[in-house]
Symmetry: C3
Subunit: 357 residues, 3 copies
């Protein structure tokens, strides 16, 4: 899609979304599972077109014949669970980073009994963590390997999005450079309309911008919270479901894309360490009320670190589409559970452990 | 309704609301459209009484025979779409403002295919923007033109609400004066119980209080986010639906009362301008995770401007019933989309464009 | 349950929760009332086992045969409504507080027509307010009087939760000590997994930590917001319902455990008083957008008071699992309604009155 027509595409798709009657969504949510799966616009796992066209025919025009989860991947049962390393990657020596992502579809095992068909950056959900400093140059290229148009929106960039964040069609690449002005934990995501669908189907990640002057020495982790709204499995793979994204009642809420993954395999630090959590909330919808059981944050940076620090915090909410930096000092040996304390959501997987030895 | 009985009315209506079983709401949401429309307490569009009385008979007593959308307005098809000017109105020369609003019902075209029957201040949704300074005097009168009791609650006023914010019956007027103590983006809304119904049916707007000492020169906009919960159309007009307000799953989420209006016709500024967004969140329920694609806010004022400024913000959440002031500098030419980044809601219309030339 | 196995228990229960398909929840919400009551895992009011086993048999293993509301209490009709005193208790003279709570089940009348079967600390919902100072020692013991394992998690403690916050089986006690490092309004709650169930069934309260140096003299109140998700009454008692907690659409949202209680019997202060609200949000899920009609907060402390003060605030959101301190000065005589201004929730009971004479 040429850059100059992206605005129209976005406006068009946005308008399409608006024409979905809320009532229909509620009714869809109340329908039988099979019926729901067929109605869901993003459910074309296995490369099938929806068995029943969306009643709003205009919506279908903005969606490909085959939606999320169509990757010709391995047999679902053969997809291996892999823990996402939460450690903040080290800074690279130079002041320029060249990053090249491919947008592609991937089957990802998020739990022993669940494989999802995701839209991704580089086959990963979340996408790879980028770490740079204020004033560094990030030279970024997105190559789109799939039929669905995709794009990249960096929250750390100050740049014309109409040009830089334009969608690439299959086989096309988009390249742009930016230099982050502010430190912080920033979201990146596919910005192709409807954003809810692209962001909600797995195309998100974190770019961590350290300040020019180093923050206090710490063990640093990156946690990206996301919600997952899934359809019924097709050939063992659960597709993401746009209607359910609009219902705002997720199946899973995760740190780094797998429910309870750091309950299974915890984060480990030493007593006396300062621990810094760069928390990005991909959403797409709900805040992350970040809390560590048995601890308080000695510092939460409301703005770009090291500015706007507040102290003595039990829980602070990171809005969807936002990011924040949390610090605590591990004076006590033990096992500390970190959660999204909005438990109606957090109980669905946004729970992990920090082990202090 | 005399002032001294407003408390009892409020308590009564509040209690009534509480007796609506949550289960009933869910079931109502799952019922067929026609059935839902008949059950909705605020659905008397066209001047009809509800075909099926609310099962909680006490609730009906707090609602008129004809609810929202009963205005004897033009034929729905003849209602013309009008963009809401988002520019902050200039300050008037004097230090006293005399404001006279009428509460009345109005049919408002919010999209090409949607006309809503709203309860309004002065026939507008949101109501007119009021702009004053800290220490100015606002002399306000509300005259109620309709059968439903209505009132005015200014979040910028320090005043006894039992007296000043009392409900007016049809033909009555209520007058009061106040002098804003703090700068900021403040909500005003009808405070008649149940507030959810009155606020949620269109009776809200913004009063912007500039500090005594001028903030940095900027191009200033006012964005009022609101959610819309609608029933099925009656004679082409969709009424607001109280049951759906309680379900918290809106049909539309808008800036200044029309989905995608600034996608259709953008905000325009010049490169190098400081842009100041006074963002008020009328709710009634969800936060507004305000974000500008391709930009960061160099300043968000958490308290009364110019105090409590934080810097380098990608997204900040304005709570329902709150307001906040956001600033950025347009160093780059381009087209910047502003959104509620809680996309499960924002995708329903809280999307606009800021064009920098 | 021995301390060393609590982690496994927590992980196990957490995983169980995750296996509940979101779709099932939605369908459950759409089922007929009787069916819903039978499916709800926490609905064993009256001491019955669920008539229909949960379709996820693994879930049942983490729940007792009889759930919330099984207390052999008085006849439901005989349960008397009692207002919860919102005044902050005075500090005790010594620097060590010995607190002994019993976890037990209780029938609590929350409204004229509603008795709930709650899991509680000391038979109260919320549990008793604890008030201490930074640096004081709190020596705490929990004795569990019931078959369900329970525990205590203080957000004001810096302590190894694996040991201190471990679950006690019936007849067991757990004792630990801590010394709060930060001032603030902190939540305490049962931390036994699934936390959503225990916290959501009534096991929460506030510990208020005053700073070493006294804050400005004020009349101080404690408000703990909580949501209630209830099943159909059994023998006149409504049990808490875990499926509905996961649906995130509450029946009631309350300050101090009873809808509208301070609408019925207001808070009373004198003109000129500084009023300090210590607001704790137990959740389990939604923020509390705290607002006082006709007033603005001259101070909200974002971090530990007296630090991080912001000024001139109409509404600020306390996240679920968080707490915050709000102050205003009552320059005006009148009757001021305080609310959760997220009205889709607040309208369900999080409304009270502050009378200034």
């Amino acid at each position: 899609m040429p850059a100059e027509s992206r605005r129209e595409f976005l406006r068009h798709a946005s308008t399409l979304t608006l024409t979905i009657p809320g009532l229909g969504l509620v009714l869809a949510a109340c329908a039988a599972p099979d019926d729901r799966a067929r109605r869901a616009p993003g459910n074309g796992a296995g490369g099938q077109t929806p068995a029943v066209p969306n009643p709003d025919s205009r919506l279908d025009t903005s969606l490909p014949a085959a939606g999320a989860g169509t990757a010709a991947g391995p047999n679902a049962a053969a997809v291996v669970y892999a823990r996402v390393d939460p450690a903040l990657p080290a800074l690279t020596p130079g002041r320029t980073q060249r990053i090249h992502f491919h947008s592609r579809e991937a089957q990802i095992r998020i739990a022993d009994d669940t494989v999802v068909g995701a839209w991704t950056f580089d086959g990963r959900m979340p996408g790879p963590v980028i770490h740079c400093r204020v004033g560094d140059t990030v030279e970024f290229t997105l190559t789109n390997d799939v039929a669905m148009p995709h794009s990249m929106d960096f929250h750390a960039a100050q740049i014309d999005p109409k040009t830089a964040f334009r969608s690439a069609l299959k086989g096309q690449s988009v390249t742009f450079s930016f230099s982050p002005r502010y430190a912080g934990a920033f979201l990146y995501h596919c910005g192709t309309s409807p954003v809810l669908l692209h962001l909600g189907s797995g195309m998100f990640g974190a770019i961590i911008v350290s300040p020019r002057e180093a923050l206090p020495r710490a063990t640093e982790f990156v946690l990206v919270q996301s919600e997952m709204y899934l359809g019924a499995p097709v050939n063992g793979v659960r597709p993401f479901d746009y209607s359910r994204m609009l219902s705002t009642l997720p199946d899973f809420v995760c740190f780094n894309g797998r429910p309870d993954q750091y309950g299974r395999e915890p984060l480990r630090v030493r007593r006396g360490d300062r621990v810094r959590f760069w928390v990005v909330n991909a959403g797409p919808t709900h805040p992350c009320a970040f809390h560590v059981v048995g601890e308080q944050f000695d510092t939460v940076y409301l703005g770009a670190p090291p500015g706007s620090a507040i102290h003595g915090i039990q829980t602070w909410a990171v809005p969807a589409g936002g990011g924040m930096c949390f610090e605590l000092v591990t004076d006590v040996v033990g096992e500390f559970v970190f959660v999204n304390h909005a438990f109606g959501h957090g109980q669905k997987g946004a729970i992990g452990r920090l082990v202090v030895t």
